[in-house]
């Protein structure tokens, strides 16, 4: 008699332990990949998982197998044109006959093992040297709702999501692009052919005619649809805004802020962002960079574009306040994080501190200042630091710390938000 067993309620993650082992074994490669991703990513995307590529040869499991060469016979199905004794040119690679433009791309993906890290795995690796404990999620997050919304197109997807229109657009574009030069050549040869035919140069004309036909065949041989053309509709779950926060990132981008310092700043901003996303369902980001003049920029420019000039902090604060008043005056929790090396001159530090204390802080939930110091110059206090210290004494929602190394970022962050975590969780 048959036993019917419903195994569906059983745990599904039977392979989780094996997957985890795989990640552990290739930790070094994965860490490298994650490091690269961090550099390329936007803050808001930081929390998602990511695609990691590992060279296939690094993870192959060797066995004794036959390589190329030697003599052998292969039996294949579907013979249409050959009879015994025919000679066939040896195909290049394994693609067989009729290789086309897409082969290069395919070959690449065969050499790499691509897989996705989940959000948790990505964060774990990202914070590996930061020792992130679980941040408490506040009550606010409880009532969040998600809505499935269209989010453009992706190259991969389930067949049901295939976007025929997009795919055909891609296909058309590819075919036009690939056949343009052929068409041009064909026109040229055609003209030459007519010329040759007109002056009665028969053998030349015949050769040209053959060439025309060859080009015709090549144009005809372009595949109508190629794998690279496929586009799928993409949908993502977007939270419905319930509690909103605006996060202002202020950074000094004067020449003294080198790439290392910017990297530190990015990690700091990321942490703040993550912290906020745990408390608020929707977080808006505002990036303000300043030298002696402040401007609002997009994230890419913010982190990667260098400028030269002096440092006037006040300009950034004024701009932040203006943006806050314009866009985030109603129903927004405003947070701001400032990163700088503290090299401000003249009257600027004192004026900035006053502006901060009198204008910005009263309307903000929290303001953090991170001073990035050179690794071996810990004790030298900057002029901005001195001024800000007085602000800290007076205002309850202001915090400041210094950091020189990556490992210091997280402790600094925790310090900064200790009070806040306690009061809201």
């Amino acid at each position: 008699m048959v036993h019917l067993i419903d195994r569906r309620p059983n745990a599904k993650g039977k392979s989780a332990v094996n997957r985890e082992r795989f990640l552990r074994r290739y930790k070094a490669q994965i860490q490298d990949a994650v490091k690269k991703m961090i550099g390329e990513r936007k803050l808001a995307d930081m929390e998602q998982g990511g695609e990691v590529r590992i060279p296939r040869k690094d993870i192959s499991e060797p066995t004794f197998t036959f390589g190329r060469g030697g003599d052998r016979e292969i039996v294949l199905p579907g013979n249409r044109e050959y009879i015994a004794g025919d000679r066939i040119p040896r195909p290049e690679g394994q693609g067989g006959r009729g290789g086309n433009a897409s082969e290069g791309g395919e070959g690449e993906s065969h050499d790499e093992f691509v897989f996705s890290l989940s959000r948790e795995e990505f964060m774990q690796i990202f914070f590996d040297d930061l020792e992130l404990p679980n941040l408490a999620r506040t009550e606010l997050g409880r009532t969040e709702r998600h809505k499935s919304v269209r989010a453009g197109y992706t190259k991969w997807g389930a067949p049901a999501n295939l976007s025929v229109k997009r795919t055909l657009t891609q296909s058309l574009a590819r075919r036009i692009a690939l056949s343009a030069s052929l068409a041009q050549q064909q026109r040229d040869v055609q003209a030459e052919f007519e010329m040759a035919a007109a002056i009665g140069h028969a053998s030349h004309a015949a050769a040209l005619h053959e060439r025309i036909e060859h080009l015709e065949r090549r144009r005809g041989g372009l595949p109508f649809l190629d794998e690279t053309d496929l586009r799928y509709r993409n949908r993502v779950l977007r939270p419905e805004p319930i509690a909103r926060a605006a996060m202002f990132c202020l950074m000094d981008v004067s020449a003294s802020m080198d790439e290392d310092k910017k990297d530190l700043a990015k990690r700091f901003f990321t942490l703040l962002y993550l912290f906020l996303t745990r408390k608020y369902v929707e977080v808006d980001l505002v990036f303000i960079r300043h030298t002696d003049d402040a401007e609002e920029v997009d994230e890419d420019t913010f982190f990667h574009d260098t400028r030269s000039g002096g440092t006037v902090v006040l300009s950034a604060l004024e701009l932040a306040e203006k943006i806050r008043a314009d866009r985030y005056s109603n129903g927004w929790n405003v947070y701001a994080a400032q990163a700088s090396d503290g090299d401000a001159f003249g009257a600027d530090p004192a004026r900035s501190a006053r502006f901060l204390r009198e204008q910005f802080l009263p309307r903000a939930r929290y303001y953090t200042y991170l001073e990035l110091t050179a690794p071996h110059a810990q004790d030298r206090a900057s002029s901005l630091w001195a001024e800000y210290q007085r602000v800290q004494e007076l205002a309850g929602n202001f915090a400041m710390r210094r950091a020189a190394h990556r490992e210091q970022i997280y402790p600094v962050f925790r310090d900064l938000f200790k009070k806040d975590t306690v009061s809201t969780s």
């Binding site: 048959v2 294949l76 997807g157």
Partner: protein, 504 residues
């Protein structure tokens, strides 16, 4: 087949795509009845319904319900999951395990028609093949495999606790590299049981007592026996089961490592028949789901909608794209196997002149007996050599291409014509032979008296070299062996220059 329409029931069991457990039971009963009519002998069945995630899990461990943890299974899992999520690969409708009871996994997403197809395919097709085919009977023990898997998993995990997972992983990696060379292809004599051993000793003793003659004592003794020659070669005969040799003779393996080697070897042995009967096994199962479901339709137990859906799945499964089609990925074992068993039935039932010439002893015979005989006594290699008919060679348009190193172009060796049939059949049969797929590497020398090094010999045939990965395999073997390991290459009894060596 009996045509007594009167006995046939005429109300379909169900309509539509939805299934529930009650319906599964009813369909199963109907299928079981038809299978019994056809005389299929099976292990008891156990059907488990799983989700697609669980199917991905099952994929990673080659279908085994219990496996020991290892990163390579994680890699396999990630690869399948990725392909599935991106829509590049669908999942199998079922996985079936050669065990008793025979466990078949069915996906919950399947429609009723698919579930019925899968039950006929796995629970009666594969199941009867596992029970009947000589390779499975000889090499696997369906009764005990599940218990052994439980033991293996527990043992590996205990080792990890005591020795650290990295040490265990190293041993397993090395064993996996040698897995294809961890099977016995010929049976060893079974070790004597204690009882038989004592009985034999006793018999010898008695014989000695009976034939005792004191006179022998008076004969002067010969000079002391010549000592064993120091350069005696060990093992006396080359050993093809490298993992077995390591397990028995490795000078450095600790007992737990030895047990790990044994576990991997046992698993390799368990999977050994599957690799050699892919075409037959899938062909047999496909033939029977096709036959059984058609019979259900004849009986009126399933409606036409069911049949249309079933036939759609069926034709997808047995499609064979041509060699130059983008969809081509080798000969489809389902297509070839199904075609061969169906053709065999045709030869039995409606033979033509060609069949009588090619298969004089089975043309016109009882098809059920002939198919049963074929299923029990062959493997892919011999099955193709014996039963591939010229008609199928024509239908598949099979042709053989020769790839010779010395020539710039490929040569079409033979095609589906009178001159080519036998040659194509022979080559296709060889293509399915174990020796063609797994290189011949054997242990030829263990220097017991000297530096304890181990020498392997790759016997190269027709100039086909090993890939460069062989150096890594040798390194893995050295880790197990503990002393120098070298790999020589021979062809036609001549040693070739290059030796891969990994010294201690």
């Amino acid at each position: 087949m009996s045509g007594d329409r009167a006995a046939l029931q005429s109300t379909p069991i169900s309509h539509g795509a939805d299934w529930d457990f009650e319906l599964l039971d009813q369909y199963h009963a109907a299928i079981a009845k038809v299978a019994a009519e056809f005389g299929l002998d099976t292990y008891p069945n156990q059907i488990e319904i799983i989700t697609s995630e669980q199917m991905l899990d099952a994929y990673a461990t080659t279908g085994l319900p219990i496996g020991y943890p290892h990163w390579s299974y994680g890699k396999e899992f990630i690869r399948n999951e990725q392909a599935y999520r991106r829509g590049m690969q669908g999942l199998a409708y079922e996985i079936v395990i050669n065990s008793s009871p025979c466990i078949a996994y069915l996906m919950e997403e399947n429609t009723m028609a698919t579930q019925a197809l899968v039950m006929a395919h796995a629970c009666y097709g594969h199941n009867s093949f596992f029970k009947g085919n000589h390779l499975f009977r000889q090499w696997t023990d369906a009764e005990s495999i599940l218990d052994y898997l439980v033991f293996a998993r527990r043992f590996v995990m205990e080792c990890e606790e005591r020795k650290g997972s990295e040490a265990v992983e190293q041993v397993l990696d090395a064993c996996h590299a040698l897995m294809p060379h961890g099977v016995d292809r010929y049976r060893r004599p079974a070790p004597l049981t204690l009882k038989a051993e004592t009985a034999r000793l006793k018999a010898r003793e008695e014989h000695r007592e009976r034939s005792f003659n004191d006179l022998w004592r008076t004969i002067p003794e010969l000079a002391a026996k010549v000592k064993e020659k120091p350069d005696e070669v060990f093992p006396v005969e080359p050993q093809e089961n490298i993992l077995y040799f390591v397990e028995k003779y490795s000078p450095k393996l600790e007992p737990w490592e030895r047990e790990l080697v044994r576990i991997v070897r046992k698993l390799a042995q368990y999977f050994y028949p599957q690799g050699q009967t892919k075409v037959m096994n899938e062909g047999w199962a496909t033939f029977w789901h096709y036959t059984i479901l058609n019979r259900l339709h004849e009986k009126g137990l399933v409606d036409d909608g069911f049949m249309v859906e079933f036939l759609k799945s069926h034709t997808n499964v047995v499609a064979q794209p041509a060699y130059d089609s983008p969809a081509y990925s080798g000969l489809n074992p389902y297509a070839l196997g199904f075609a061969m068993f169906s053709d065999l039935r045709r030869v039995c039932e409606k033979p033509d002149a060609e069949d009588r010439e090619w298969f004089p002893d089975i043309a016109g015979s009882d098809w059920q007996k002939t198919l049963d005989f074929a299923m029990r006594n062959f493997k892919d290699e011999s099955f193709i050599a014996q039963f591939l008919s010229p008609r199928l060679i024509r239908e598949f348009h099979l042709f053989a291409v020769a790839d010779y190193k010395a020539e710039d172009t490929l040569l079409v060796d033979s095609i589906h014509d009178d001159r080519g049939y036998r040659r194509v059949r022979k080559l296709l049969s060889q293509q399915h032979a174990q020796e063609i797929r797994v290189p011949d590497v054997q242990v030829v020398r263990y220097d017991r008296q000297g530096d304890r090094s181990l020498t392997l010999r790759h016997v190269r045939r027709r100039g086909r070299p090993l890939t460069n990965a062989c150096a890594q395999v040798v390194a893995h073997l050295r880790r197990l062996w503990g002393f120098t390991v070298r790999l020589e290459t021979w062809e036609d009894d001549v040693k070739l220059g290059s030796v891969v060596e990994c010294s201690a």
